[in-house]
């Protein structure tokens, strides 16, 4: 019955100390978010507006994307359209070739991760430098993000320190975050100054002005785009918003939800290429237009990638990002993975107790938990339902639909209480891992009622 997720989660929990730290740290972010959201009386109204704007924009992608393209082109940007990851990566490759570029400095983007762009470009001989500190650490350690906003949250400072001793020659045994961060700052300064082309994602693309908006705390997107003549910005098409007025809603929700800050340090608006330079914008579909055809799951396109559903998820906090098989973990990742390829990513659907905290925390009101429930109903159809679960469910159905049999079973059930312990708590009994089984009552409520013991 175990899934890839449950097995990986079990391994994560084996190190209970690290698991507890991970849980506590992400809960702290959730608590910061609570403080922020409770400081705004209009919070729930903001969520409503954000959700409504996204429902509008995602149901008008055709007109809004064309409007964006018109305005961006008028601003002097060059707009590209990519149907899928391969086309996206090829477009980037071509731009790099045109400029005889070797080094690409980029800010954090879940979209380039989705497209597998870095590996593709490395294969072509380019040097790709991640400039976000967390992403840079992961790049040095040859790892992928375990969280979409705090990509290196699963790594301890000692591990970072040891790695930096090797890579940057930092002091032996020094794992002070300030010391390590400033060592990277020094190292990265030179990279910023010498990169050939800069790349960023986009948190928002504004249809009415043709500008893109990038939010960071480190200022790495801004440093990155400050020196090369060429800037490539890429965004998944659901990042479109109608106008700047809408940004007022989203910029108030994004950082408050994601990190518990009222706004990120930098909310940067890129409108036109720099003098003598080029500004390329890639609009990426890669399966998004297919989601439009699924009314049950269309709200996943509302996502602004704040990551708060991960922070609040009791399962994510205790199982870590790597326990999921899709590159985006947590509640939104479970859903996006299933939309991408339900057969391939069905192992993540077990990672949910249906507590619905994610649905309530989501700043754009995605019904995350409810959608996971719906995905579970589809598993059997795609041949991915667990056989044991199916048998258990079928057995329950059989029993519960036969009240006489059920009542008889309950009559004999107390016998189970007297069974030798080894017969109850063995490897076949997953409940018995860490929990005693409930003891059946000597007489069921139904029997008590029948024998007039209650009235």
């Amino acid at each position: 019955m175990s899934t890839k997720h449950s097995k990986a989660a079990a391994r994560f929990i084996e190190n209970r100390k690290q698991e507890a730290w991970h849980d506590e740290t992400l809960w702290m972010v959730r608590a910061k978010r609570d403080k922020m959201s409770h400081s705004l009386p209009e919070w729930e109204r903001l969520r409503e507006l954000a959700s409504d704007i996204k429902l509008y924009s995602n149901s008008h992608l055709d007109t809004l994307l064309e409007e964006f393209e018109r305005n961006a082109t008028a601003n002097g940007a060059i707009v590209h359209w990519a149907k899928d990851a391969a086309e996206h990566n090829a477009i980037v490759d071509e731009i790099l070739q045109q400029h005889k570029a070797h080094t690409l400095i980029k800010s954090k983007s879940m979209l380039t991760e989705e497209c597998g762009m870095n590996d593709y470009l490395f294969g072509k001989g380019y040097d790709i430098i991640e400039s976000d500190l967390g992403e840079r650490i992961l790049q040095w350690m040859k790892l992928h993000p375990s969280h979409i906003v705090m990509p290196a949250i699963h790594i301890k400072r000692q591990e970072v320190g040891e790695m930096m001793e090797r890579v940057l020659g930092t002091e032996k045994g020094n794992s002070d975050p300030t010391y390590l961060t400033h060592a990277v700052r020094k190292n990265m300064r030179e990279k910023f100054l010498t990169a050939d082309v800069a790349m960023t994602g986009a948190n928002f693309a504004v249809a009415s002005t043709g500008e893109i908006v990038v939010c960071t705390n480190e200022g790495n997107a801004d440093m990155g785009t400050s020196f090369p003549k060429v800037h490539i910005a890429t965004f998944g098409m659901e990042k479109i918003v109608p106008d700047r007025e809408s940004l007022g809603v989203f910029t108030r929700l994004l950082a408050r939800s994601g990190t518990g800050q009222p706004i990120t340090s930098y909310t940067s608006h890129y409108c036109r290429p720099k003098e003598g330079g080029e500004f390329h914008i890639i609009i990426v579909d890669n399966g998004r237009s297919d989601i439009l055809a699924r009314p049950d799951h269309i709200r996943t396109l509302n996502c602004i990638r704040c990551g708060e559903c991960m922070n609040t998820c009791p399962v994510y906090r205790r199982s870590g990002g790597y326990s999921y098989t899709y590159f985006i973990p947590g509640p939104i990742g479970i859903n996006l993975g299933m939309l991408k390829d339900p057969v391939k990513y069905s192992d993540n659907v077990s990672a949910c107790s249906l507590c619905l905290s994610c649905s309530n925390v989501c700043p754009v009101k995605i019904d995350l938990g409810e959608q996971i429930y719906r995905w579970r109903q589809d598993l059997d159809k795609i041949g991915k339902a667990s056989t044991e679960k199916k048998i258990m469910s079928g057995g329950m159905k059989f029993l519960m639909e036969r009240p006489k049999l059920f009542n008889t079973a309950l009559k004999f059930a107390p016998v189970v209480n007297k069974m030798p312990r080894f017969m109850i708590y063995n490897s076949l009994n997953a409940w018995g891992k860490g929990r005693e089984l409930p003891a059946f009552a000597k007489q069921s409520f139904n029997e008590m009622w029948k024998s007039n013991k209650i009235k």
Binding site: V315, V349, L354
Partner: protein, 246 residues
């Protein structure tokens, strides 16, 4: 008004005393309560595991059992929420319009909102920590979900406040899941146990002697953890406190 008492399967089998307390409590308030015999299950375990279609027969059966009642009242927020939120969709596929969803209440919700009890004879001179269960909070709105920016309320606290001698606490993570979630508990046993242990610890840190709540399923899960780890705290369903002395 005629009230049909809804006794979910595991209360029937494991916690009949919760059913007894529910009956006595409603009766003591002068209400017309009856128990339609031979109830089994609402179908939630199958549906949460991904076999919603297997609960259609059970949903239909519940419709028949409770057809003649004005209210369906049960001491299990999660089961009530399932009937309320999911039975309509399940029955629609079977060509039936769900009636139970419009008249079903968790017993606390019923006492608080419909009966509007203002006093109880109950006395419980103990420290209790309220377990705000996921479906009680986020589907039935028994209390304000911690994620939302709405004024604090708790129907459970309101009811418990009518009990003499009681001291009421709530855990620090006020409505975090205890890790049961039906088959989740056996499909992801390590995470589920971890959640259960964390939750019990959080309740214990309040200094309470009892964990109490409107969901026997969560209490059953935490009881399993408590017994395995021999922890110095007990579980008790809220109706047993509200009905104490009856």
């Amino acid at each position: 008004m005629k009230i049909g008492l809804f006794i979910p399967c595991y209360i029937n089998a494991v916690y009949p005393e919760v059913g007894v307390a529910s009956y006595k409590l409603l009766k003591s308030l002068g209400l017309d309560v009856d128990y339609p015999l031979d109830q089994t299950c609402c179908g939630q375990p199958m549906a949460n595991a991904g076999f919603e279609h297997e609960s259609a027969g059970l949903a239909l059966r519940m419709e028949e059992l409770f057809r003649s009642y004005d209210y369906v009242v049960g001491p299990s927020a999660s089961c009530v929420a399932f009937v309320k939120e999911n039975h309509p969709g399940i029955l629609e596929k079977a060509g039936h319009v769900c009636m139970n969803s419009k008249k079903i209440y968790d017993i606390c919700e019923f006492l608080h909102d419909i009966v509007k009890v203002k006093e109880l004879k109950a006395e419980f001179p103990h420290k209790v920590s309220i377990h705000n269960s996921c479906h009680g909070v986020r589907e039935l709105h028994l209390s304000s979900p911690s994620e939302r920016n709405i004024p604090y309320f708790s129907k459970l606290r309101d009811l418990l406040s009518l009990v003499k001698g009681i001291e009421i606490f709530e855990p620090k993570r006020i409505d975090e899941c205890c890790g049961f979630g039906g088959m989740f508990a056996v499909e992801e046993p390590e995470v589920s146990v971890c959640m259960g242990q964390d939750k019990v610890k959080d309740h214990m840190n309040t200094g309470a002697e009892y964990i109490t709540g409107a969901d026997s399923s969560c209490l059953m899960h935490m009881e399993g953890v408590i017994k395995r780890d021999n922890l110095p705290i007990k579980t008790i369903h809220i109706v047993e406190i509200l009905a104490s002395g009856l």
